[in-house]
Every structure is written in structure tokens, then in C-alpha cells.
């Protein structure tokens, strides 16, 4: 919690992480006497990412943290004064100094909810907050959705790890990626800060540089290890591995001098530090001729002391094929040396895994157990941004609508409620938007709705109706505790389980319908007709 509070402070320390035009517009509103007008904005996206038919809503926890801590410090106001006209009314800057979110209310989908274009969380908020909220929601939802897609491809059995910090677009990009790919269905991350600040399970063992840093001539200060059970004399692990090496090489048809001595020294050093968590990285030199025999020698020497290695990792080449070969060697060595646990050792792989490669690695019969994904997860190369928008829908109690000539950029006016309609099997039927003042739809009652993008209405009879939006912040106060990240992660998987497979297909999915109530549809029509043309 202390660490989390530190993160909160940091987020709070950046109220100027916003587009300058939010500040210029703030001055415009001020000069027009409208600074305190009640206004409602909606934050949503127009299209599901990656050509799919769903997205996961995420980023709410970061938004709430930002909002609750929002305050302009003296240095922030001074900076704004330096870029606004020199004759600006000083009362405007005094007003900026008093701003906080004590008058702000936020309604949103819980994190991990399925979200569809036009149904993300409406946020009632001052203009100044537009950019940071977009920034906090857009990428979080994108990467959570990307993670959910990858989880769908891999199936529930594989362990998926996020390895993307070094390829992330900036440091917070990395932290956001680690947090929300866990929410979207990954099992953990290499990013230590995400563990510290967000409670994401962290994982990691060793890199090639560790292996290549050893020549084999190093002399560890203490090469001995006590048996796992505690009782018994300490044993020289390097000597034990050297003794096993001959047997392993004979079994594999290799010469004892084939495996690189530096690699073996690195494995011994790592095993001395992590006798209960020894993992071998096999491809620094040659998997078959060096990495694998060195790993087996050290793992078998450890095994004699009662420790079990935790697995191996492959980071180059044809990962599926190599995993098959490695598994074959594990099987034969398990039989030959009578160590049955060796057969089932987890094989981890990494190296530019994308959706196609993940599908290959997850095919039936694959011997891969753990898959690390970096670039393909965190940078979302198929679509590196979710086009989230933040639009004014009501001000001073009056509905507002942007009537641009580009139909996709039109907005849906008015303060709204949103409902999710379910069928009798518990699957999602459609999402419905209506005006806030309308009575909610009733289960088992026929309902005429207007699907977005369709010309004609449709009649539905939902078996169940669920309100979509929850109030998280009311007049600046948190209304209910946020679920933990792990709870949101479980919620995301549950949400996905209620979506029919046709919508979950990653290519050419059946679109999921979002529909308007008759009354909302009528408001859109009347505002469109009464437009400026």
C-alpha cells in the first residue's frame, strides 16, 4: 500500500500531462463565465481493435487515482501563465489553483468488462481532464484486449508471461503493459516494478549475458550446496555436474568437450544461487550440443541433492521443433537415468512470438509449456492505438451532439444509461443505450431497439438485463472499493466466457450489436434534423 501510495503521488504530480488546448479552452470557458457549468463527457471508442469484435475495458484504476489526486501546484500554474497571454486575468490563475475533483462524478464499466464501441464508461468531468483520461484508458484497454486475444489463442493450459518492458513505448508504457496484460489474462510479467506497485506476479531467471559472462575458468568462493532436506554434508555442485557431464554426453552421443565450459559454469553459479528454482537458458551457444547437456549435467547433480530444476528456456530458432527435440531428450534421459520428474520439466520459449506463432506453439501435441511475449504484446503491432475519444454529450442539462459531415465522428447526445441484455442461455445478446431518465428494460419483456449502423429496428426479448455502468466516484468520493487487479483479471475471463464463440473469433468475427432505445434514437434524429444546415 505504501508503494501504491507512492505511485499515486507520482501520477498526481503530473496534472500538466495534458494537451495545451485543454488549458486554452479552460481560459475560454472562464472568460465566457462558464467555468462552473455542469458538463458530462463520455469516453468511448469507435471500433474494436485488431479486427476483433470485443475489447476489455481497462484503466479505470489509473483514472480514479489520477482524479483523486488531481491538483495544480504553483509551478504548474506558473508554467501555464508563461504560455498563456500575458494580460490574462489573474483571477483565472487563482481559479486554477483551487481546482480539484471534489465535484466530479464518474460512472464506468468495471475493469475487465467487455466493452463495445459506443458503450464504454461515460465520465462526467471538466474539460481539463480529457487528455490524461484518454491516455490512461486507451492504452490500458488496448493491451488488456491484446492479452485477452493471446490468451484465447493459447487456451487456458499454457502459462503466458509478459516480457515486453524493454520494448515498451516509454517507462510508464511498460508499467501499464505489465499491469493490464495481467488483467487481460496473462499469468505474470518480468517487470519488477509491476510486482512492487501493482501486485502482478513477477517471473524471471537468466539472460544470455549471464551465460556468456562465464568462461569456465572462474572459481566460485563456495561451490558447495547443502542437500535439500538439510541433513548431510555439503557437496561441490561443480564437481557433481562435471561427473554427470560424461554420462550425459555418452547418452547423447556427444564428446565431453563439446558443451561450452563457460555455459556450464554459469548454470552451476545460477543453481548455487537458486537450487530450488534452477532454470537453464539453452541457446547461448548450441542447444543440442551445449545447452542441453550442460543443463542436464547440472540438473542431475542438483537432483542427487534432492533439488528439482524448474525448467528450461529457448530464445531463438524454431521454438516448436526445438521444444519437441528437448522433450525427446528429457524423456530418454528420464528413462536412462531413472529420474521421472525430468520428463515433465516445463519448457519455456520466447522470441518474437506473435498471434500466428502463438497458435503454432499452442497446437495439439506442442511440448511448450510457458510462453514469454514481449514486443507482440506490449506494442500491439497490429494496431498500436485504440482510437478512444472523449466527447461532450450534455452541458447545463442540455444534450449536445457533434454533427460533423463525417458520420463516424458524430456523437450520441445526452446523459445516458447502458444495459447488457442476455439470452436464456446466459450469453450476451446485445448492449443497449438509452437516456438516463428512461425506465430500465425489463427481463422477459419485448423491446424495440435500433441497432447502431442498421436502418431498421429490431425486437428483442432478453432473459436477463444487467445495468452496465457503475458509479465509482461521486462528488469526488470513491463509492466502493476497487476490485484488486487479480479480481479484475478473473472478472475479465468470466466476462469473456459469456460471449458467444462467433464474437470471440479473432478473424472475421460476428459483430456484437449495440442498440439505441427508441427515445434516444428519436433525440438523435431530432438533433440531426435541427442541425445547422
Amino acid at each position: 500500500m505504501a508503494a501504491e501510495a507512492g505511485a499515486e503521488d507520482r501520477a498526481a504530480a503530473r496534472p500538466l500531462l495534458t494537451d495545451l488546448y485543454q488549458a486554452t479552452m479552460a481560459l475560454g470557458y472562464w472568460r465566457a463565465g462558464r467555468a462552473r457549468d455542469a458538463a458530462e463527457f463520455e469516453l468511448y471508442f469507435r471500433r474494436c481493435p485488431f479486427g476483433g469484435a470485443f475489447a476489455l475495458a481497462a484503466g479505470l484504476r489509473d483514472c480514479l487515482r489520477f482524479l483523486r489526486a488531481f491538483r495544480l501546484r504553483d509551478e504548474d500554474v506558473r508554467f501555464l501563465a508563461s504560455v498563456l497571454p500575458p494580460d490574462t486575468d489573474p483571477a483565472f490563475f487563482e481559479h486554477l489553483r483551487t481546482l480539484d475533483c471534489s465535484g466530479v462524478t464518474v460512472q464506468a464499466l468495471p475493469e475487465g468488462s467487455l466493452a463495445f464501441p459506443g458503450v464504454s464508461g461515460p465520465l462526467l468531468l471538466v474539460q481539463l481532464l480529457e487528455t490524461p483520461l484518454l491516455c490512461l484508458v486507451s492504452y490500458a484497454s488496448l493491451v488488456a484486449t491484446n492479452a485477452a486475444r493471446l490468451r484465447l489463442i493459447a487456451g487456458p493450459g499454457k502459462r503466458l508471461l509478459e516480457f515486453g518492458l524493454r520494448r515498451a513505448q516509454g517507462p510508464d508504457g511498460g508499467l501499464t503493459a505489465s499491469t493490464y496484460s495481467y488483467l487481460g489474462g496473462f499469468d505474470g510479467s518480468s517487470n519488477t516494478l509491476a510486482g512492487q506497485l501493482r501486485g502482478v506476479p513477477v517471473a524471471g531467471t537468466l539472460a544470455h549475458s549471464f551465460v556468456t559472462s562465464f568462461s569456465g575458468s572462474e572459481v566460485p568462493p563456495d561451490p558447495t550446496l547443502a542437500p535439500a532436506a538439510g541433513a548431510g554434508p555439503r557437496v561441490d555442485l561443480a564437481a557433481g555436474a562435471a561427473a554427470w557431464l560424461g554420462r550425459v554426453c555418452a547418452h547423447l552421443g556427444l564428446r565431453a568437450q563439446d558443451p561450452h565450459p563457460g555455459e556450464r559454469a554459469a548454470f552451476v553459479a545460477y543453481a548455487l544461487a537458486f537450487p530450488r528454482a534452477f532454470q537453464g537458458l539453452l541457446d547461448s551457444y548450441s542447444v543440442q550440443r551445449s545447452g542441453l547437456p550442460n543443463f542436464l549435467a547440472v540438473a542431475l547433480a542438483l537432483g542427487e541433492l534432492g533439488y528439482r530444476a524448474v525448467g528450461v528456456r529457448l530464445d531463438s530458432g524454431d521454438l516448436l521443433q526445438q521444444a519437441r527435440e528437448v522433450r525427446g531428450v528429457f524423456r530418454s534421459a528420464a528413462a536412462r537415468f531413472q529420474v521421472p520428474w525430468l520428463e515433465l520439466l516445463p519448457i519455456a520459449v520466447s522470441n518474437n512470438v506473435d498471434e500466428e506463432e502463438l497458435a503454432r506453439l499452442s497446437q495439439e501435441g506442442s511440448e511448450v509449456d510457458v510462453i514469454g511475449i514481449g514486443t507482440g504484446l506490449v506494442t500491439c503491432p497490429r494496431q498500436p492505438s485504440l482510437g478512444c475519444v472523449y466527447k461532450l454529450v450534455s452541458v447545463g442539462g442540455q444534450a449536445r451532439m457533434k454533427l460533423t459531415e463525417d458520420p463516424e465522428k458524430q456523437t450520441l447526445p445526452g446523459s445516458k444509461a447502458a444495459f447488457r441484455l442476455l439470452d436464456s442461455e446466459g450469453f450476451l445478446l446485445l448492449d443497449m443505450l438509452q437516456l438516463a431518465e428512461e425506465p430500465p428494460p425489463q427481463a422477459e419483456r419485448e423491446l424495440k431497439v435500433w441497432p447502431l449502423g442498421a436502418r431498421d429496428p429490431r425486437t428483442v426479448r432478453p432473459a436477463r438485463v444487467e445495468p452496465l455502468l457503475r458509479r465509482w466516484l461521486s462528488e469526488g468520493q470513491l463509492c466502493e472499493p476497487l476490485p484488486s487487479l487479480a479480481e479484475s483479471r478473473a472478472f475479465a475471463q468470466w466476462s469473456l466466457s459469456r460471449l458467444r464463440p462467433a464474437h470471440k473469433r479473432l478473424q472475421s468475427p460476428a459483430p456484437y450489436q449495440v442498440a439505441l432505445s427508441e427515445q434516444l434514437r428519436a433525440l438523435v434524429d431530432s438533433l440531426s434534423a435541427g442541425g445547422p444546415v
Copy 2:
């Protein structure tokens, strides 16, 4: 500077922004008695991004800031202890508590330098710093290169603004993008924090929500404005604009009720706040029938008071075509109302501008003056990550090389020097890598070099030779002040001016050669031959 120090503190507060395996390897080195071995790593990338033949080196300022402030706090060490084996030697954690970069030396290309695969900045550093440095250099260089490409397309005359904060991958992603797209050749950013912390020129005026928030029935507390010259009575700007509206509509063949009254009220409100910086956003309703006449009415009313509007912005539709039409109206209105400055008003555009669209907007005869780019700049959709790597090349004075079966993943061993060779016209000829102990190449002397990827050597006779790497940090101390961001920006443009056009082509460019000295080549050969196979 105070603000900058605050940013420094924040960066420093995140030593755990690293992969967990850096910490597990640290324990492995410790257990092996090698924690203090002298080591040298090189940070570089393997391929130029976006299919181009160049990249700009960037991110050094963030790395140096991070390194100088690097220290593990108690809470960081406690977190690491919670994820490392419970029986870990407490002396290891004591060692972690003492770590800082007082023994670290950094040599690198100055920011804004052209960098080529294999020649980015070598960094001598402890393993633990790998991930944050990769994270800080990789995206900074990528976005700087992307900005440089966009600047090459636009030419020097267009004003290019970065508008991508809301689409950036996380908050720092946005700050990094704004900083380094300025370095790469953009003129400014909408990101206010980048102005505050990094001195990037910031720009921004108004959004559609400002326009649509006005219905036209609002009554500003004070609709009057004093003349620009100061002398003379205050004038009601709303009344002035209303008077001009009739004349403008008559000129354009519109009815006076066609333009949206709310949009005009918004323009008046903005002009009251920014009489010297009034910009109209034209496409909230209809450019031709509403935005343009409303803008002209307000701009002409302002003009009577001696103020000149600063331009207009278009944010949807065919931007090139609309700019042409808007310019046509400006010309005819300038003539009709005898306000010559109207003719040359800058036209700004934004809305999903990518390389192709930028080329269109920059073609001869284009009436577009200012171009805002968001997603296409900051998320680098063509290639959202630069595959930077950080490889051990020497430890304890001995060269190290990774001899994997994947040739692209091999490393170049040993502590190295790098030189840039120039031809007699001052253009870059090639970059040369050699061992640190070799004498530098001489100008006007023939030299045999081994281009990377080629089988045969090549003879060159450089007219000039420049050392590529500078020492920035020596034993933890800054060796020379870092150039300002604006200086690095100018340096980047100068660097690009020395690259032949064939290498600067954005599609199918001629690759720029990086070559090894005979001695380095011989070391590679001998280590390859002596490998484990």
C-alpha cells in the same frame, strides 16, 4: 531546472523498472563471487526501423538522468527479498543497498546522431541496468527517427506539431514521444508536460467539445474587448461578429441563419480570451456553411479592433481539398473586404495523418501550412518497436561473444572504438568499428575494411575521419554538459544533411555500410572458430 530536477527524482524513484531476471542474475553473480568484475555492454540495434537506412540515436539524456540517480531504496530491496529465495544470503541485500553508478562509465553517440546497426552507443554498465536503459533508448530513438522521416517528407517549410499524447502507450510514452519527436525535427507538441519538464515548444487552441458546448444563448459576463493598440473604447465583439456575419454570408452565398450560432458564440468566447491568438476550428458542424463564415465574421470583427487571427484548423474529411477551398475563400474575402492579411492565414490540419497523407499534404501547391500528427507519429504504427539489444562484449578485460546458431543474434566481441569516415564532399562514407586498442584510421590514407554482411573486404580512402563515441559519464561523473534539447534537434538536422539522398530515401534506400577493421574481423573469426562446436 526545478521542474527538471523533479522529473529526475521521479525517474530515480523507479530502480525496479527492470526485468526480474536482472535481479536473479545479480544474485547469481554475487553467489559466484563476480559481483564486482569489470564488464562492458554494448547497446545497439540490429536493423534500421521503418524499412529505412538510418536512425537517430536518442534517449541518452534520460539514461544519464536515470544512472546518476540510481539507488535501491529500502522498500525496493524489501520487495526483491520477497521474490528471491528465503534463504538468500543477507549480505547480498546489503550489497544491493550500496549500489550506485559511481563506478560506471558511459560512451555514446551524441543525441541526434545518425546511428546505424552495430554502431549505437556502447555502455559499460552492470547487468541490473539493462532493462531500463533499453526501455529509455529504444523508444526514444524510434520516435526520433519516425519524426525525422516525417520531416523529410514534409520538407523544411511546413510546421509540424506532435498531437499524440492521448494515443500514446502510457503517460511516459507520451512524454517521451513529445520530447524526442521534437528532437527528430518536429516544431512543437500539444503536451504541456513536455513544455514544462523538457522545454519543448507547446501549442494548442480549441477542440470540438469547446465549440459544441455553446448553444448561442450564453451571455458572456463581458463581451467587450479593448482595441489592440490600447487607445479607444471597448467594443462588443459578439455584436461586431453578428454585424460581419451578414456581409460574409452575402459574399459566400449563404443565408445568415446557416452558420451555427453556438459555434459563433464559441469563437467569440475564444477570441475574447485570446484576441491575439484567435484560431478557428472549422469542422464541428459544416466547414463551408458554418465554420468558415463564423470564423470570418469573428476574425473580421477582431480585425477592426486591430487584432489578426492566427489561423484555422481542419480535423476531418479531405484535408488537402478543404485547405484549397478554404484558401480560395480567404483570397476572395481578403479582396472583397480589403484585408490582405486574411489571404495568408495559416491553415492547420490534423486527423490520422500518416506518411502517405503527409506526402499528399506537402505536395507542391498545397495550401496546408501546419500539420498536427498524433497516432502515426507517437505509436510508430509501421514498426512500433526498435529491436534494441544490450550485449556483453567484454568482462574482466576478456572479449565475449554470443555464438548462437542464429547469425543475426551473434554479437561483436571486445571493447571497441567507432569512427565515421567522410568523403571529399563531406558526405558520410561508412562507419567503422575496431578494437579500442587499435590506432584510429587516418584521413587520406588507404584502409582495408570488412563491411558487415559482405564476404570480401573493401578499400576506402576517407577524406576525413571522426570519432563516433563520446564519453559522457566517467566513474559516475558527468564529463561534459549535455546539449539542450533544441541543440540536439539542430544537430540531428545537421547530421541528416551529411547523409547522401540515396540513404535518406524512405522506400528501398541504399543501405549505409558499417565495417569492421581487420583486427576486429580477425577476433570475430578466431572466437567463432574456437566456439563450442
